[in-house]
Symmetry: C2
Subunit: 350 residues, 2 copies
DNA sequence: TTGAAAGCGTTACCAC
DNA sequence: GTGGTAACGCTTTCAA
């Protein structure tokens, strides 16, 4: 049987309380006693029972990270950083995936308390204000990515501005017919403000796709170019295979656009592949750009122009905000915006 | 305050035990009573406290997955599948990263009990027989990937055979000078049997790199081609940027080999990029192959020849083995080998 | 400074 | 079938 504080106390000839004091190192313990306890700890190879500790003081030292699709390289980067930075703060990380089952997001909100976690970082897909409200008493929560709400803390980048900047980058290079890959399945109004309720379930990045579409259209409008629905290529799941398929099909049915702006880098990889298969040369015949600046982007052929932001800063901010909420549940929600920038690479060189 | 079984019991006019019976749905409960309890459950929005449950019955319903480097696309695929398949079994998943800190592997072994988990799936890097032995009483444990040991359950592919098969594939296409990317930093004997102790710390994939190197050499030997140390390009961290750097440098210092066999697909991406930058055409001037068949491989330019294995089967086997160990700690360790195959794509087309 | 005892929320044992 | 009660391992009052 594994040893408990009682066993340690007995071996050291002290009470459980003293052992607890030594372990948590808060109260002053006579050095001699401390030494005796510590050697007993070592001898028995004592390891505290986290369930008992969690039950007693209401905290487990664990947080949950919920992402729509763990397969995306972007997800891997987020998971990597959250695990690394949370570990520095002494927190363990439990991972959840939400895209497969839309209602899982709500379950997590309403039942996070059950999931053995002290807090939750959620990249929402189907979430809006009313959903957040109706979930009842929330666990300490930070949203990463875009939702139109002010009820809970959030860290995000300005998706509209980023998409506008990247579109402008393409316009600056003389592109007029700019295709976008990854727009929502069902076209909506351009601004998207307030029309969140009823967003179709199961689409990863629905919120992001709306905002990036909006930014794209804004840039076109500013340049006096009308929106051409034929250039807005929708895609339900943001995976490279989908992008390859849809771009490949597009090429057979339409005239080659001046550029393809893909809403994620991994979709851009699919697009580049489809273009290569069709014998279209990038950047000579058409330009390609992505979004996220994943690790792989600089090794694509050609290297990919994309939107970059400091992912470490992004995740650190999320953990900071979560720490605030965990320390004080009544703290006012905060929103942190992380700056972005266009990374120019060969895929849009002119 | 959040409701407990007691509150539910009071509201339903029954005892806590009955509530527990209803929740766990095992014992026969009178339908009428059951209905009363269930409506009380719903009314109070009862959520069980996992810490208490864990304390009481010794299980938390959580497993841990420990991988060397979460940034690798391969890791993302494993995390994705483990989370998905574990969830089907009602288990939560806690994620750990080991490469940054070698001793973390041992910590996990010896302290997994503390980490609030019922079992552990570990992709080992610096682990050998003696380490496993000396860790003392182990938690239910399954190793994924290669270690020379028979003490704990393990699921793996035959790395030696896979590397041999892929090398043979290149030989079949007329290659004689085949470079490998990702060999261990310090060259070792070819078989690698038994020389695990003291494996240098901090190298992701040390075990895998030894075995893949062995398979490569076996194929060369069978073809009567002597090993050329200059063709064995070592790399400490299996990341694309390292591969791009090392291959780029290689091209300036050596004659172009007939082929590059990279020990992971993501390194192959880096290699393809370096070759493209140097103006070397693939497959016209040299062939490139990888290992793992990550999602991105088929969208590389050109699409990448690689080693594939059924990742879902691989992960399902790991969870099955873990389930066995969790159910019966005395169960004999088992080893599952998952078959592999060479996927031929354009990067090695002749 | 240290010891004794209570209690966190659950489930299992044993009566009824 | 269902209700009391004890116990899981820890920390935190309160006393000594």
């Amino acid at each position: 049987m594994r040893p408990t504080v009682k066993d340690v106390a007995k071996l050291a000839g002290v009470s459980p309380k003293t052992v607890s004091n030594v372990i948590n190192g808060i109260v002053f313990v006579r050095p001699e006693t401390r030494a005796r306890v510590e050697s007993a700890l070592a001898e028995l190879d004592y390891v505290p029972n986290m369930s008992a500790r969690g039950l007693r003081n209401g905290r487990t030292g664990m947080i949950a990270l919920a992402l729509p699709d763990l397969l995306r390289p972007y997800s891997a980067e987020i998971v990597h950083l959250v695990v690394e930075l949370a570990h520095e703060r002494g927190w363990g990380v439990q991972i959840e995936q939400t895209a497969a089952e839309p209602k899982r997001e709500f379950e997590l909100l309403s039942k996070a308390r059950a999931y053995l976690v002290d807090g939750l970082i959620l990249n929402p897909v189907n979430l809006d204000d009313s959903a957040v409200l109706s979930a009842g008493p929330l666990p300490p929560l930070v949203l990463i990515g875009d939702v139109d709400q002010d009820l809970v803390s959030q860290v995000a980048i300005d998706n509209v501005a980023a998409a506008r900047d990247l579109t402008q980058h393409l316009l600056d290079r003389g592109c007029r017919r700019i295709a976008v890959v990854g727009t929502p399945e069902v076209p909506r109004g351009s601004s998207g403000a307030g029309v969140l309720a009823g967003s179709s379930a199961g689409e990863p990045g629905t919120a992001a796709s709306r905002l990036r579409t909006a930014g794209y259209r804004e840039a076109l409008a500013a340049a006096g170019i009308p929106v051409d629905p034929a250039l807005e290529i929708s895609l339900d799941r943001w995976r490279p295979e989908g992008a390859a398929t849809v771009v490949g099909k597009y090429l057979t049915e339409h005239e080659l656009p001046d550029a393809f702006f893909c809403f994620t880098d991994s979709m851009a990889a699919g697009a580049l592949s489809a273009l290569w298969s069709a014998g279209v040369r990038v950047p000579e015949q058409t330009l390609v750009a992505g979004f996220d600046n994943i690790l792989e982007s600089q090794f694509m052929i050609p290297p990919l122009t994309t939107i970059d932001f400091d992912r470490r800063e992004f995740v650190a901010a999320a953990l900071d905000l979560l720490g605030e909420r965990m320390a004080d549940k009544a703290a006012p929600p905060r929103r942190v915006m992380v700056p972005h920038r266009v990374i120019e690479r060969a895929s849009t060189a002119r």
